[in-house]
Every structure is written in structure tokens, then in C-alpha cells.
Subunit: 216 residues, 2 copies
């Protein structure tokens, strides 16, 4: 972590130390999550700090370049977990992190679904399509192409799982979502009749329309 040499008046050194450790730990998690380390660190810093900070504050405290700080801050704003604020008589922009951790969690889930689940689903549909036509032709011709059959069964099971994941996450994080409670009730609703460990009822989505389903 940064040396953080100047002892800000009013703040103890042990506090700064604890903050630095937190920033580092959060950065670690960022790596595991596919967020860049710095972006996570910037977020951690803003979250743990009382006052809003400007770009230069972030640069100084984290010892990173202006470009990096600027882009990371922008990305965080895009994610919806950091907001811009201003101070009277100051043209500079200041940044503060969302303080409600549940709102934060929802924003993060929303963004990750958009970036990871949606494209994956589109991909799976597309891959299934690759063998869709041959399979149909073969079936019409009378022969049952066994390998294609099981290939489709597997893909369908995966698509099914992904859709469920997507729905739950969207319900949890969606604009009209009421968070965990909503997601929980969705999980128990007959809409998704899943969750039986060894039940062999994989293929449900059969010929869903890939084009209209996935926005990205």
C-alpha cells in the first residue's frame, strides 16, 4: 500500500493503517472478481473515507497515475457505486462511494450479469445453433444422430442453469427489485421449478429464440 506519510490532522495513524489494509484487501478481491485491482482499491478508499475525495486525493493516497485514477473513477461512476459531488465555490469534482452496502451489492451484481452472464448465454445459443440444422435434417431423414442428441441435451442443461442464474440475479438487482427477498420468492416460485439436486430434468429450454432473448 501507499506510504501515506502525512499524518492528516485529526486522524490517527492506526486509522490510516487500517484503511490501507482494507484498501489492499478489497483490491485483492477485485482481482478475483475480474475487476482490475486499482478500480477495486479506488472504490475501497472512497468507501472507507468520510469525506468525498477528488482525483488528486486518490492519486496521492494510492500512488497511481492521473490517467489511471481518472479512468477508474469514471468506471466506478458507470457501475453506479460511486457518485460525483461538488463543493461550494470549487470547480473541482469530488467522488463519494455508495454507502449502503446492499445497494452496492445490487449494483455490482447488475453490472456483472450484464458483462458475463448475458454474453455467455448468447454464446451458448449460438453454439447450439451450429448443430441445430444438421440435427434436424438427420432427424427428418429418419436416423437418430446419437452424439448430436446428447450434445444438445448438455447444452440445454447449461442454458437452463444460466437462465435461472440470470433471472435470480436480475430480480435481486433489477430496477424494480426489492433485493434478496424478491430473489428468494422468485427462487421458490413455480416459475423456476429447479433445485432438486439429483433430479434428471435438464432440458427444458428447447427452441427458445436466441435473437430476442439476449440484448447484448
Amino acid at each position: 500500500m501507499a506510504p501515506a506519510p502525512k499524518d492528516t490532522p485529526g486522524e490517527s495513524n492506526t486509522l490510516l493503517e487500517a484503511q490501507d489494509r482494507f484498501v489492499a484487501a478489497w483490491g485483492q478481491m477485485g482481482v478475483v472478481w475480474g475487476i482490475s485491482r486499482t478500480m477495486a482499491e479506488v472504490h475501497a478508499l472512497l468507501y472507507i473515507t468520510d469525506e468525498p475525495l477528488c482525483t488528486d486525493d486518490v492519486m496521492d493516497r494510492l500512488q497511481i497515475s492521473r490517467g489511471n485514477a481518472s479512468m477508474s473513477l469514471r468506471a466506478l461512476v458507470d457501475w453506479g457505486i460511486v457518485t460525483r459531488t461538488h463543493k461550494r465555490g470549487d470547480r473541482k469534482e469530488y467522488f463519494r462511494a455508495e454507502q449502503d452496502v446492499w445497494a452496492m451489492a445490487r449494483a455490482i451484481v447488475r453490472e456483472r450479469v450484464k458483462r458475463e452472464v448475458d454474453p455467455l448465454l448468447a454464446n451458448l445459443y449460438e453454439i447450439k445453433d451450429l448443430t441445430q440444422r444438421p440435427a434436424k435434417a438427420a432427424r427428418r431423414a429418419g436416423s437418430l444422430p446419437d452424439p448430436l442428441e446428447s450434445h444438445h441435451r448438455r447444452l440445454d442443461a447449461l442454458i437452463d442453469l444460466t437462465i435461472t442464474l440470470q433471472r435470480v440475479a436480475q430480480t435481486f438487482s433489477g430496477p424494480a427489485g426489492r433485493g434478496m427477498a424478491a430473489a428468494a420468492s422468485l427462487l421458490q416460485s413455480p416459475l423456476l421449478r429447479r433445485g432438486r439436486p439429483a433430479a434428471d430434468d435438464a432440458a427444458v429450454v428447447t427452441d427458445a429464440d436466441p435473437a430476442t432473448e439476449v440484448p447484448q
Copy 2:
């Protein structure tokens, strides 16, 4: 993806192509998840293939080294999403992926909680401890150290969120877990009275014992 030049008798080329695309897509996801690309690809290959494969099969199809293939397979077995099998009169070991996608999902969640959430939680407790003593001393001395106060409130909120996440995931994936339904009912139980978006009731975990809480 690998060229996959030899046309396995009985399997069409479009099938191989689709499989390769699937392997590539799954590998992509692996990167995003902090699993290495190869490990994810090996898993994808085993999942999408009818017959169990041996180490050499994997090496050939994916064009990777023996060491890499061996270690990736071992890791997958450790994760519990791939099992070893044998063929009569053959000393070689063969590998096959868990076919039930829900069991797969549970295994993955279990492993990721162990590797990511548990250590994070331990970290958060430790960081909180760093300022715990100074804060108490100051409080006893009569002064109210405001920055320490809000520092703790933030950390507590985060610890709280992490614990909830941990519990839900463990319920979903635990040995006695019945999957999504169990997780859903946990979410709605009064045990975790969370999920109200803007409710300002963060600090609940106050002085939980860090040592006994986290195994890792």
C-alpha cells in the same frame, strides 16, 4: 482453439467445431472467474464429451503439455466436478465431468466460498481489530473519536453483508443443502432480516469472535 485435425470416425466435423467453440467459451468464463483458462477448458471438454477421456486425450485435443493437463485434471477432481474412472483391463485412468449441472454449480460455489469469501471475512475482522483497542480506550477516556466510529460502522456493514453471502452460499452448496430451495428459504427466514434497499440498519455484528468464526 486446437485444430482438432483428425476426424474421429462416427463424429461429424460440425460437432467437433461446436465442441471447440464451447470449450473456448467456457475457458473465457474461467478467466473472468479466477479459474485458469486451461482448467476451465479441460472441464468444458470433459463435460461436452460422451466418453470419459484420459490425460493423453485431453493433451491431444487441447494441445497442452502433460504437466498442465495432469495438474488441471487433479484440480478439477479436487473441486469435485470431475471424477476418475477406469476401464476393464486398462491401467490408465479416465476422467468424466459431473453431468448434473446443479451438482456442478453447487460444487463450484462451495469451492469459491472457501477460497474467496472465508479469507475476506477473516481479513475484515482482523482489520477491524486493528482499531478496536484504540477506539475502546478513547471511549473509556470519555472522548468520542468520530472517525473511528464511522470506520467501524462501515466495516461492520461490510462484514454483515459478507456473512449473509457466506451463509446463503453455504446453504445452497452445503453437504446437507438441498440447493436453491434451501437457500431461498434461508433468505426469507428471520435469521437474515436483510434486503431492504435503503434501510439504514447496517451494524449488526458487533464484537463477533474472529478466531473461532473462520476456519481458514
